[in-house]
Symmetry: C2
Subunit: 577 residues, 2 copies
């Protein structure tokens, strides 16, 4: 008789090769061998495929009794125990989470493990390594991502997401991915982010006054309380620096925040470190992606200038965000003197030991007095989800169009105008053979016209850098945000699912009301934060697209005016002919 | 022994398959059979090929004595007799002219034959036929020509010439080509035009006061005396007319000359008839080519509008020309009432019987008192010849560039701008899903921007019609002129060659001084007319290219201003966002 197993939790297949199983379903195993946390077998319908090894219990001899025992042990306490001993995702699709792995993200229970890992991969010694050299393009933050299935497993999503976004709230794993087994990356964001632990009341920590965050009720719904001390930060032309007596070179950016007016020097790897801290700390905040890393040519002027532009965009989004702008690690990054090694390391260690990350981040949030209507929240979030898909599609299309338009202007358009210029020039040169003094001025005017068309060709070639490139930069940044939102929505939806489950459990008498109310309150916090983040996204979106469209049109206008001016100069030359 | 022949005149091969022969050279014939006036054989160098049958005398038995007799009969009178009995082109390259054929063009000796032919092909009955239908594209005037070898047979020329230009001064043959043997088209223009007959003093006729033309000495050399009664002529929108109770349709153009202010209706075939009269009459005047004939679609709006534009250009060049503008046939065409059939036919017959055509045209020209320096004339004409080649090359290039530029604007440029418009539109539509009232204005502005880019795409597509098309029309007209000039130069060069020959003959005692002086005087007339025509060409060229470049640049400026205006409107929409 073939080896059998019993499903401990529901598992909904979300990828080809996987097979869905229902809690208590008896499965036939094709092998006992666990491949990266997966087992191969057939479910009761005869569908064959992979399912997570941790979701099943292999049946050896006393299979039937084990099944019966488990299925009947449903008292309130036992429920909670069994549930949180092995933390299944409940009814939330395609999520599973063996307890042993959750520990890594549940700071209240395993912060020491976390801190050890952190220190291992980001020690002060490592800090001086040139991350740009050692890391590959694949594990960088940025918009160079891949398409992946939507969080509700319908396979219709068009979100692109970078690998760093896949592991958002889980930055330490991105850095130590060699020790992470494959199915770890398949964890539900709801679990990874600490959202589930928080909703279930497992998060705990002391919230200092400085860490407290407010979601207030604004005109259009919950929003982050404004930063009472708004500031911006300039990034000046980067310089090439060397260390170890010239053995190592790196590019240093000069940052000057307006609230201190003190310039600090930072390298890309410092931005990268900061980014990792932020995605780990804030489960439902869209941390802007850093400009792409690049393996080669990173000292080339074009690349440096492009990266600087990207970092300016990034900085702009950081300082615009009421929560991100004020957080300690960002302030440390912006204000710590570049020359005070000791202060820098202190701040760095403090940030890496920060307990208010992931699940605990939610502890720092205070909400408006009136709790939200979860149906309304769900509807808003669903609307936003649909919005992000459309926006993602349209930014992709605009980006492709703009890129092609830029290419055409730099090649075809330029060529056509310059060919006209050349033809006018050749005609003028032919006319110079005419031996007629009265046509000399026509010949000069033709020659001037030729130069004008040649110049207009160059104008076309130079223009995309001034107007289309910034549009594409903006689109790139927003594609990063759009890639962040599926995870944010996932966390919020996970919390809502927990609320529904708890209501059901209360009705079934499996959960007492106080517990369910606690879940409700915590789901309200997550919902307020999510809606505030969505609101912030819309506000900066309107601000940014307005500003960028204005800039684009102004540049286009000034371009066409320059072209007109050149033609007017040429036209004048014919007055004397 | 193979059949032999003796060359009576020099013949320089100008086409593949032909072979050059020298006067008195003994040739071996491969066949006695004359193919369309050509014999096949080998010259004394052993080169095999075709030469004109009329250039050789077949040797039958008494070959040697015939050769001796001929080569020694060189007294002055005999020279003239033998020369004008069989009229070879002398030293002028690739020209030959059996006397029998010259009669057709020498109006003093064979005007009756000519008139008969004329009447046969252009009788009043024929007049009502729809030439547009019955004639093929191949025998139309216009710029749709073919490349042919340069008049000096060097094979390097790039002149294109229409078939009508090939037979310029020979219009009656173009019309009755079925009765003309192939070698007739190969006649030297110098002969065909009547230039040779005139130089040799064979032209004669009574010059009425009204026919007299003056070449005056202007600032830059000989020029046509200005038309004391300058006028222009408008061509209004053509209408479709029918006759024979609707059995036949044709397009009628409304012409209104400024000097009469009386509108007359003319059809394309009337223009065509006029054109044939003009090229026949004026050997060294570049008659502007008519716009292309078209076999199909001649009632289509695009074609009619294009032809009208072409006729306007043509009319402009006609009325600008001091000689063409004033000539009787053109005035008849412009002023004769469309309803007075009888007056029209009278004028038509008169024009077709005009004796002052071809060789006799030169009789009507009076020159400045001081004769020209022929060396200077030759140098000027050579300079002009080089100029026309360069101008022809450069107008060809500009035409190709402009045509491609127009195509790109109507396809690629339009597409790129409209794709940008569509992408902005799609982004705006995505943004409309955002459920945020504060972004409604941004969405509207994006939608307006989308429309603006769509409109700009259309502007690009519409623009070539306004600026590049007129440039190409101008170039087409000038390519017609440039195709005319090789023949004009040919006539002038032929006259100069005759002068050189006559000087040689005088030195050798074969010609008396008075005869040579007559040739000199008549060559002076041809030279004055040629230089006046070249001068006129340069003047209208400078005028036309100045005007057209101004028009082009003005249109371009107004185009870019319109684009700028559209973008400024779009930009304003963002003020309220």
């Amino acid at each position: 008789m073939a080896l059998q197993a019993r499903a401990l939790y529901d598992f909904n297949s979300e990828n080809p090769g996987e097979v869905s199983v229902k809690e208590n379903e008896i499965l036939t195993l094709h092998s006992e061998e666990d491949i990266d946390g997966w087992l191969e077998g057939s479910n009761s319908k005869g569908e064959r495929g992979l399912f997570p090894a941790s979701y099943v219990e292999i049946l050896r001899g006393n299979a039937t009794s084990a099944l019966n025992n488990n299925s009947t042990s449903t008292s309130g306490d036992t429920y909670r125990d069994s549930r949180y001993a092995n933390v299944p995702p409940g009814g939330f699709d395609a999520s599973y989470a063996p307890q042993t792995k959750v520990d890594n993200f549940s700071k209240s229970s395993s912060s020491s493990t976390f801190t050890q890992q952190q220190q291992q991969q980001a020690s002060d010694d490592d800090w001086d390594d040139d991350w740009d050299d050692s890391s590959t393009v694949a594990d960088e933050p940025g918009s160079a991502g891949r398409r992946y299935q939507d969080f509700d497993g319908n396979g219709l999503s068009t979100y692109r997401v970078s690998t760093s976004s896949m592991s958002r709230g889980n930055a330490q794993h991105a850095k130590s991915s060699a020790t992470v087994s494959r199915n770890l990356n398949r964890f539900s964001t709801f679990v990874k982010s600490g959202g589930e632990a928080f909703v279930l009341g497992e998060a705990s920590g002391f919230v200092k006054d400085g860490d407290k965050l407010c979601v207030v009720m604004g005109q259009y719904g919950p929003e982050w309380q404004e930063n009472p001390y708004p500031f911006t930060c300039t990034i000046d032309d980067p310089t090439k620096q060397t260390k170890f007596k010239g053995m190592k070179s790196y590019i240093s950016y000069k940052l000057t925040p307006t609230h201190t007016q003190n310039q600090v020097n930072r390298r890309y790897k410092h931005f990268d470190w900061l980014y990792a801290r932020l995605v780990e700390k804030f489960p439902v905040i869209s941390v802007p992606h850093l400009p792409e890393k690049q393996a080669t040519g990173r000292f080339e002027e074009d690349f440096i200038s492009k990266r600087r532009k990207g970092l300016i965009w990034w900085m702009n989004h950081m300082t615009s965000h009421p929560v991100l702008a004020r957080c300690d690690v960002f302030q440390h990054f912006l204000t710590c003197s570049s020359t005070d090694e000791k202060a820098w390391k202190q701040g760095k260690r403090k940030a890496e030991k920060d307990e208010m990350v992931g699940a605990n981040f939610f502890l720092t949030i205070s909400t408006p007095p009136a709790p939200l209507d979860f149906q309304e929240v769900e509807s808003k979030v669903d609307g936003f989800k649909a919005f992000t898909k459309r926006m993602d599609d349209s930014t992709l299309q605009l980006n492709a169009t703009a890129s092609e338009f830029a290419r055409k202007q730099m090649s075809g358009f330029k060529k056509e105008y310059q060919k006209m210029g050349l033809s006018f020039k050749v005609l003028g040169q032919a006319f110079e053979m005419d031996q007629q003094p009265y046509s000399a001025r026509l010949n000069q005017a033709l020659s001037f016209t030729a130069e004008a068309y040649d110049a207009i060709g160059d104008y076309f070639a130079e223009q995309p850098r001034k107007d289309l490139d910034p549009i594409m930069d903006l689109l790139g940044l927003y594609q990063g945000h759009l890639a962040n939102f599926p995870d944010i929505i996932h966390v919020q939806k996970g919390a809502l699912t927990k609320v529904k489950e708890s209501q059901k459990h209360v009705e079934e008498g499996k959960m007492d009301l106080a517990q369910a109310e606690g879940i409700n309150d915590r789901c309200n916090i997550i919902s307020c934060a999510t809606l505030a983040e969505i609101q912030h996204f819309h506000q900066i979106r309107v601000r940014d697209f307005k500003a960028q469209m204005q800039h684009y049109l102004q540049q286009q206008i000034s371009f066409f005016q320059r072209v007109t001016g050149k033609l007017e100069e040429a036209l004048q030359k014919y007055d004397d002919v």
